[in-house]
């Protein structure tokens, strides 16, 4: 399975958000979407998900077809979605929340979730390390735990494509890395194709195979992290000065430098 976005144009009323975006994600690949706030990253994810309809252009899933021709149910069997950390206020248990990932696979609405669905949910809960929280009510969990529940739900969905919209924002660094490790494992072992919006450039550099930097609704640069994350590109996209270093593996590390007015620091932190 791979996903391709071709010449996608989208506007909210008359405000153009995406002006002809081309992106592709291959099997077993993690592709990171970077860019400042308002550059159209989340809008792009929602278009791939079919939640928003583009003005023109198309999103195609290989072997299956264009998302415009598919129902919400069809797309849900192909694509799972992890939103930004939100506080889920429904009093459902972790098990119930994860089991919801089987909703697109229910064939008999009367019967509801079957034994197979429950077993799959249990297996994923176990594999993500949530077994001890299984009967806890979701609103009582910490942010990191809650986001793992959502990841578990997406894995139970058994879709080949995972879309993540800033799924690690708001998490502390160990939970953010833990979530990215889970995703890396799914891409490598199961060939999932993963498109993720990230704010943390360094997290993206470490875990993504390729990056797309969005600016003003178009792709400004794309390619492997070490090719894309240069001082010039960071300045052009984010408007800040940064030092770009490389670790022992050749992964770039971007450290924003404080400008005279101190604006640079704020921008890099996504404020």
């Amino acid at each position: 399975m791979n996903v391709s976005v071709e010449n996608l144009v989208f506007s909210y009323r008359s405000d153009p958000i995406l002006n002809g975006v081309d992106i592709n994600v291959g099997r077993g690949e993690i592709v990171g979407l970077l860019g400042p706030n308002g550059s159209g990253k989340s809008t792009l994810i929602k278009n791939v998900l079919g939640f928003l309809k583009p003005n023109s252009g198309r999103v195609t899933f290989s072997n299956v077809g264009e998302n415009a021709t598919l129902s919400a149910g069809d797309i849900a069997r192909l694509v799972a979605f992890v939103p930004q950390l939100t506080t889920l206020r429904a009093t459902i248990t972790v098990f119930e929340a994860v089991l919801m990932g089987r909703l697109p696979h229910i064939t008999d609405r009367w019967g509801g979730y079957g034994t197979e669905d429950r077993e799959k949910a249990l297996a994923v809960i176990e594999s993500i390390g949530l077994s001890h929280l299984m009967h806890r009510e979701v609103p009582t969990l910490s942010g990191g735990e809650m986001q793992k529940v959502i990841i578990a739900r997406c894995l139970v969905q058994e879709s080949n494509v995972l879309l993540l919209d800033e799924a690690t924002s708001g998490l502390d660094i160990n939970h953010a890395v833990e979530i990215m490790e889970i995703l890396r494992g799914k891409a490598d072992d199961q060939g999932k194709c993963i498109l993720t919006v990230l704010h943390d450039i360094n997290l993206a550099a470490q875990f993504c195979d390729r990056l797309f930097l969005l600016k003003g609704g178009t792709v400004y640069r794309s390619g492997p992290p070490d090719a894309v994350l240069t001082r010039d590109v960071v300045r052009d996209v984010y408007g800040i000065d940064a030092i770009v270093m490389f670790d022992a593996d050749g992964t770039p590390i971007v450290v924003p430098r404080r400008s005279a007015a101190g604006i640079g620091i704020k921008e890099a932190a996504g404020v």
């Binding site: 009093t91 299984m134 009967h135």
Partner: protein
């Protein structure tokens, strides 16, 4: 670790059954005319000769008890589902104005001199229109903002309330019929009305249970529900349609009874969780028992004078509503 929700559900079902039996027993025994227990036992067994006692129990008391339970179920179910649609624990059809919409239709049918059944149908059309207006204004952006929902509720209820008040003024001597609609009254119970309530209740219950897992997905928000394959806009429209159906029939035959759709689903949710497969039947049963309890108080507290049942439910419900409103500002559960 055991699933707490399941354990509490077991306990709750026992409590509700006992409460229901006791209230029914008390309900058939109490009233202005003394009917001996022997007569009641005979009536319930289906034997016994015709006498006044039998007529009172079968023709007056029992239909009223059954109607209280059915109306309570309808109010509680409609509240439960409306709260999922609006993703807001305060989205009770009474508070947000759907019930007032139903009254307007019922009043119209009354003015046109149409038979009972049409009160429900007219109420349904106006309740549905009201629900869609409320949803369009306050429910568009996924989770409904509490302040917006309440403001829209006040505005819609005031507008429709003004229409009903005008109708009361216009009706002259018949105005008491409209007053009954605005305060809630179960005294008009009859087996025919029980039948007329039973049809929409059964249809709605079956529909809600059929879609229980989709309704669960709505709790996650529009985008996530969509990502789980739910056609969110279509589902919400259909649920609002069915909510309007049961609200309008309950209002047409028992008037506006507030707060049941607010207190009961919330309390049940706290006990057994928000998973609708379990929540819906328990919310329905609890709603039935609660309204029967409220009606028992309404009939007996100041007997032989009867307190309008809407007054009794508001007495319990309004403080609870305030509590919820304060809590919801800090993040109440749906």
């Amino acid at each position: 670790m055991i699933d707490v929700h399941a354990r509490r559900a077991g306990l709750l079902s026992v409590l509700l059954t006992v409460a229901l039996l006791l209230l029914v027993l008390f309900g058939v025994l109490s009233g202005s005319v003394h009917v001996p227990l022997r007569t009641i036992a005979a009536v319930l067994r289906g034997t016994g000769e015709f006498d006044v006692g039998r007529a009172i129990v079968l023709g007056i008391r029992l239909p009223r008890l059954v109607m209280a339970v059915l109306v309570g179920m309808m109010l509680s179910l409609s509240g439960t589902v409306a709260q999922a649609v609006f993703r807001n624990p305060l989205a009770d059809p009474y508070i947000i104005g759907i019930s007032a919409g139903a009254v307007a239709g019922a009043v119209l049918a009354f003015f046109l001199g149409l038979p009972d059944l049409f009160y429900g149908f007219f109420g349904f059309v106006t309740a549905m229109a009201t629900a869609l207006v409320i949803f369009r204004i306050a429910g568009k952006r996924g989770r409904s903002d509490t302040a917006m929902l309440l403001i829209v509720g006040i505005a819609v209820s005031s507008f429709l309330g003004a229409l009903s008040s005008f109708a009361m003024y216009w009706a002259g001597e018949d105005s008491y019929r409209i007053v009954v609609w605005t305060m809630g009254y179960l005294g008009g119970a009859s087996w025919t009305r029980v039948g007329l309530l039973l049809v929409p209740l059964v249809l709605a219950s079956v529909y809600f249970i059929y879609l229980r897992n989709d309704v669960d997905a709505l709790l996650l928000g529009d985008e996530e529900a969509h990502s789980l394959g739910v056609d969110v806009a279509r589902l919400k429209r259909r649920l609002l349609l069915v909510i309007s159906l049961i609200v309008s029939f309950s209002v047409a035959f028992s008037g506006m009874i507030g707060f049941v759709g607010l207190i009961v689903p919330h309390a049940v949710r706290l006990l057994i969780g928000s998973s609708h497969g379990r929540l819906l039947p328990f919310a329905a049963l609890s709603g039935g028992v609660f309204l029967l309890f409220a009606d028992t108080i309404a009939r007996t507290l100041l007997a032989p004078t009867e307190i309008p049942i809407g007054v009794v439910t508001a007495f319990f419900g309004a403080p609870f509503f305030l509590f919820l409103a304060i809590r919801s500002g800090r993040g109440g559960y749906v």
